[in-house]
Symmetry: C2
Subunit: 310 residues, 2 copies
């Protein structure tokens, strides 16, 4: 019997649900607004279970046809014990046994994962990293996050906290970072900093990064230089991980990656110029392909891998 | 029958041979001078095979009691195909099928590995990293090298070039590096730079790092500050790898680690202050325990793992 997966991508704003077939195709979707549950985590847990069951019912399949549920969460997750340790942007979540709670509510096997790891799994299995053995999945947004596929498996680190590419220091001096340190990669290329740089360059406090993208497309020299310099800084921030891990693919997603035509050549040039010979020659910088679906599609791989590992 | 391993540690100056028992104890030793073979790699290969067989004969055991030979080499090695790709400090070595050549000469199974990876395996299995799942083994010397144990296995990277911790850039500006880049971790804490700093501080061109260590032991304030600042820079260079990989142990060896009593507190303090909460709390900075034997002892683990993987 062909088995489906339910993917759930929990964000600070929305929760997205998707029914995924074995080929990684999203067949049905649903969503709910995270904030309408405030800090009442029991209500949100119930809504997650209802969302999963509602999606299955609306899809016209039976629960028996669903292999399991994979959930991506924006924070620190212990997938082994099925615990949500801490979610910085959703109040009230500390050491929540979400796996067992949802399994009870839904009657389905549930697997938890950090959201960036789930996105990385999706891009690895069905997106831009298809089939490779060693890959970094990076998202450029307010923060800079990453997931690591090493020797064909998601690498989580001892405390499930690996992949913090955005918090590698890349200079001796630099802006304070939310993590408590300073001069982290993220402080130079996170959206906040990019927007501030754009505002300075164009002398317009309200300019959006999308505007700078459109300006670059129309050939504006300042905008082109903005993306080129941003690419050089991103490239600089990636050299350390490239030399340390020797991956074949760095898959870059997130809003800023829309400007890939201007950004990626500068990233590639910087890495070619400064990474070590073998590492620099082997690594490809590619754009994420699955967009907002990466997380729910990644759930298919998570559920598969966890059930095979048993 | 109890099986032994022969470990071979090929350096630019010497080749060390050791007969290792299953508990990781070196029972017998031998060595030869690498340079006496010049760039004649066939002679050196023959001498390696003779060294292995001579050690076995001198130990009074039979070849049947030897599980295999593990060889650490100072350069880029392809352990899968048994090739030495390139040795920067031993002339004439490019794409040498050393595994098959030595197996023919010795009649024993032979496994190749990069020397720092072999040291890391030794420290992991029988030294300071004993039993942990996620560890970085770092050697501080002329260069800064590292091996990575991730999820309980040596991680080699796609082109067997992973672990280049010493070539992670840690500042936007800095000295030119041998690797072709600049501002690499190694350019700030490699022996050359440390000696130059010591010479500047003490106004003595011929001062050795060992002298600065002795001065620190006698309470010399300049020497104490030298090691503290060096520790802070080493800590700064490690934060990126700690945040990215979330290991429990960083095992530090090499000449400079002799000054651990002055160096390590500053490394630990810097990491505590700037690494992310989970990563910083979990990581221990420990001194390598096996000294010059780490590589030949690591051969025991390499041979074991490769034969189990079959």
């Amino acid at each position: 019997m062909k088995k489906y997966t339910v993917g759930v991508d929990v964000g600070g704003t929305n929760v997205k649900f998707g029914l995924i077939d074995p080929a990684g195709v999203v067949l049905h979707r649903n969503r709910l607004v995270t904030k309408s549950y405030g800090s009442d985590k029991n209500k949100l847990i119930k809504a997650l279970a209802d969302g999963v069951l509602g999606l299955i019912a609306a899809s016209g399949i039976s629960k028996a046809q669903v292999a399991g549920v994979g959930i991506g969460l924006p924070g620190l997750v212990n997938p082994k014990d099925g615990l949500v340790i801490f979610l910085p942007n959703i109040p009230g979540w500390r050491n929540v046994p979400l796996k067992s709670r949802l399994e009870k509510h839904s009657g389905l096997p549930v697997y938890l994962e950090n959201d960036v790891n789930l996105i990385t799994l999706g891009e690895w299995g069905f997106g831009a990293g298809c089939g490779c053995r060693n890959m970094i999945g990076m998202t450029l947004g307010t923060g800079v996050g990453a997931g690591l596929i090493l020797d064909g498996k998601l690498y989580r680190g001892e405390g499930f906290a690996a992949g913090e590419l955005g918090h590698m220091p890349i200079n001796f001096e630099g802006p304070r970072c939310n993590c408590g340190s300073f001069a982290c990669f993220e402080t130079f290329v996170g959206n906040g900093r990019l927007q501030q740089r754009a505002a300075d360059i164009f002398q317009r406090a309200d300019i959006a990064l999308e505007d700078v993208f459109q300006l670059a497309k129309s050939g504006n020299a300042k905008a082109l230089r903005f993306w080129q310099e941003t690419g050089e800084t991103i490239g600089t921030g990636l050299i350390g991980a490239v030399n340390l891990l020797n991956p074949t693919h760095i898959v870059i997603g997130g809003g800023v990656s829309r400007s890939h035509q201007f950004l990626f050549p500068a990233i590639r040039r910087t890495i070619k110029a400064r990474a070590m010979a073998v590492q620099g020659r082997m690594v490809k910088i590619v754009r994420a392909r699955l967009g907002d679906d990466a997380g729910i599609i990644g759930a298919q791989i998570l559920v598969n891998q966890e059930q095979q590992a048993k």
